[in-house]
Symmetry: C2
Subunit: 322 residues, 2 copies
C-alpha cells in the first residue's frame, strides 16, 4: 500500500498508507485522524446529523457500512443498525455473519429484515420473475425496506455507507446519459418528505480504499467479496474508468464529485423527478406512490408468486446475455 520507508505526514513515523489525492502518507493513528476529519467535514458541511438525531445505519456487512457505523460511534453519535437479508445464496449468509458479529461485539441494536421470510421472495427470484437486472430489483427492495424501517422505528435519519467511489460512479453513469432528473437528486443529503426519511451519506469524502483501510486498522472483519450478481455491471465499469483517470490525475475523482455539488447541483435544483410528482399512498402498504400500488409491492407480489430461483442460475443467465 505504501513504499517501504515512507513517513507519516503528521508525525514522521512509519507510514502504512499512501494517499496520492492528499499527496501524503500516514501512519495508522494519523490515517484514522484523517478519516474522522473527513467524516466530520462532510457531516458539518452538508449539515447531515445532530447529536439529537435518532440514527439508523443501513448495514450490509461490507467495509463501507461497517466503517460508517463505527465512525459515527467513534465520533460520539448513537446509532442502531439495519440489516436486510437479500437471499443471494452464500454471499448473503456470510454478510449477515459479519453484520451480526460487529453489532454483538459492541452490544449494538441490529434490526434484521429477511426478504424471503418477511416478503416471500429473494433477489435472484425477483430478478428472474421480473426479468430485470438483479441490481434494479435489489435497489428497489432495499430502498423500500430502509424507508419503512426508519419510519416505523421513529428514526430521524437513515445513514448509508456510500463512499466517494460509489457517488462518483453513480454521478458518472447519470452524466453519461445526462439524465437531468437523476442528476438533480444526486446529493449527499436527501431531506425527509412525506413517507420518506431523511437520508445522509457521511462517507462521501472517503474512497473505498480508505474505508477498507479504516476497517483493517480498526480490526473490523467485513465481507470482502463484491456481490456475485453485480459482477460485470455498469457501476463497476464506471468505477474503473474513473480510477484510470484518477491514476493519471490524483484528485480528479473528488473534483468530479464535489465540483458537481458546488457548481452544477444548484443549477439543477427543483428538477428532480420527484419534485414535480403528486404522491398518494400505496393501497397495500401505505408507502408513497404515484399509482395505486407501489413499485415495491408490485415487485414483491410478482416475485413471491414465482418458484424460488437459486442465485447460480440467475448469474449464469446474466453472464450469457452480456
Amino acid at each position: 500500500m505504501v513504499a517501504v520507508g515512507s513517513k507519516c505526514r503528521t508525525c514522521r513515523g512509519s507510514a502504512i498508507i499512501d494517499l496520492p489525492r492528499h499527496n501524503a502518507n500516514f501512519c495508522a493513528e494519523h490515517f484514522m485522524e484523517l478519516c474522522r476529519r473527513q467524516v466530520v467535514k462532510a457531516i458539518d458541511h452538508f449539515k447531515m446529523l445532530t447529536r439529537d438525531d435518532r440514527i439508523l445505519v443501513a448495514v450490509s456487512g461490507g467495509k463501507d457500512s461497517l466503517a460508517v457505523w463505527d465512525l459515527l460511534l467513534d465520533l460520539g453519535y448513537r446509532a442502531d443498525g439495519l440489516y436486510v437479508g437479500l437471499g443471494i445464496g452464500e454471499y448473503s449468509e456470510t454478510s449477515a455473519v459479519y453484520a451480526r458479529a460487529f453489532a454483538e461485539q459492541r452490544d449494538l441494536h441490529l434490526i434484521e429484515v429477511k426478504l424471503r421470510d418477511d416478503y416471500g421472495y429473494d433477489i435472484p427470484t425477483a430478478a428472474r420473475a421480473t426479468r430485470r437486472v438483479p441490481c434494479s430489483a435489489c435497489g428497489m427492495s432495499k430502498r423500500h425496506i430502509f424507508d419503512k424501517a426508519a419510519l416505523d422505528g421513529g428514526y430521524t435519519v437513515l445513514v448509508t455507507g456510500h463512499n466517494l467511489d460509489d457517488e462518483a460512479a453513480v454521478l458518472f453513469g447519470n452524466t453519461l446519459r445526462w439524465d437531468v432528473e437523476y442528476l438533480a437528486r444526486q446529493l449527499p443529503v436527501l431531506e425527509a418528505r412525506a413517507g420518506f426519511p431523511r437520508k445522509v451519506k457521511p462517507l462521501v469524502r472517503l474512497t473505498e480504499r480508505e474505508t477498507a483501510a479504516w476497517c483493517i486498522v480498526r480490526g473490523i472483519d467485513y465481507l470482502v467479496d463484491e456481490c456475485p450478481m453485480a459482477l460485470g455491471n455498469k457501476h463497476l465499469a464506471y468505477k474503473s474508468a474513473l480510477n484510470a483517470i484518477e491514476e493519471t490525475s490524483p484528485g480528479s475523482k473528488a473534483g468530479f464529485y464535489f465540483n458537481f455539488i458546488d457548481n452544477m447541483a444548484p443549477l439543477l435544483a427543483g428538477r428532480a423527478l420527484a419534485d414535480g410528482l403528486e404522491l398518494g399512498a400505496c393501497s397495500n402498504c401505505g408507502a408513497p406512490t404515484t399509482g395505486n400500488v407501489c413499485a415495491f409491492c408490485h415487485l414483491a407480489e410478482t416475485a413471491s408468486a414465482h418458484a424460488p430461483v437459486p442465485v447460480e442460475l440467475v448469474m449464469k443467465k446474466g453472464r450469457g446475455k452480456r
Copy 2:
C-alpha cells in the same frame, strides 16, 4: 476491422467495417453513404451551413480535417482550406505535405500561415518560453489565426474537423471539473460575434475510426501520427476512458455527447464565460480582448523573443515531468 464473411447491412455484399454503435456492418459504398448521411444530419439538425456560405476549412493534414473538407466537397459545398504551420519539427513538415497534396490534386485553394515566418515563433518555443503545456499555446495560436484568416478572407463560416471522439473527450474533461463556463460553450455551432467568425463542426456524428475509414476508402493520404507533443496529455486519457465505456456499452459515447446537447446545454445557455464579457480591441492586432493586448499577441511577443527551441527538447522535458 470486421469479421470475415460479414455482410453489409444495406446490400448484403462483403462488409469492410463493423460499427457496433449502429449494430451493423457495411461495404465501402454503403459505409460512405452512412458517413454522408451522418454529416448531412449534423449540418441540417444544427443548421451549420447553407449553399451560400463562403466556407473555410481548417486543415491539419490529419484524417479528420481532410475528411471534412472532402465530405463537404462531395456534398456539393465549395470550400477553401487553411493550413497553419506550427513548427513542430518533422511532424509539421509532413503534415504540410499531406495538406498541400490534397489541395493540389483537387485544384483547391489552400491558404498557408506559418507561425515562424509570419509571427516569429513556433509551438515548441512558445511552450518553453511561456512554461505552458504545448497544447495550450497551440490551441490559442490556432484559434487566433483561424479567426483572423476567416474574417480577413471574407469567409462566412469556419469549419473544423472535430469528430465525436474529440467532442466527447473535451466534454468529459469539462465535466470532470464541472466547469460550467466551458460546458456552456461546448456546442457544434458557435455563432459569429464581433471579431469572431461563425464556427461549425460537421463531423460530430462520426467517430475517429469512421473518419479514418472514410479517408482509406476514398484513397486520401493523411498523416497518421498523433502530434508528438500531445502524447500523454489528458485529452488522450479522456478518450481512452470513454473508449473503455464504449466497448462494454456501444453507443455510450454518442449518447454522452448528444444527450448533453439535448438535455443539458439548454439549461446552461447564457452561462458561457464570453457571454458576460465586454470585449475591446487589441491595441496591437485589433482582435477582441478583455485587456489592452490580446492573449495571442502577448504569447507571440514572449515566444518570438525567445531563442528557437527544437521540439525534441520540449518533449523530453514534458516526459520527465510526468
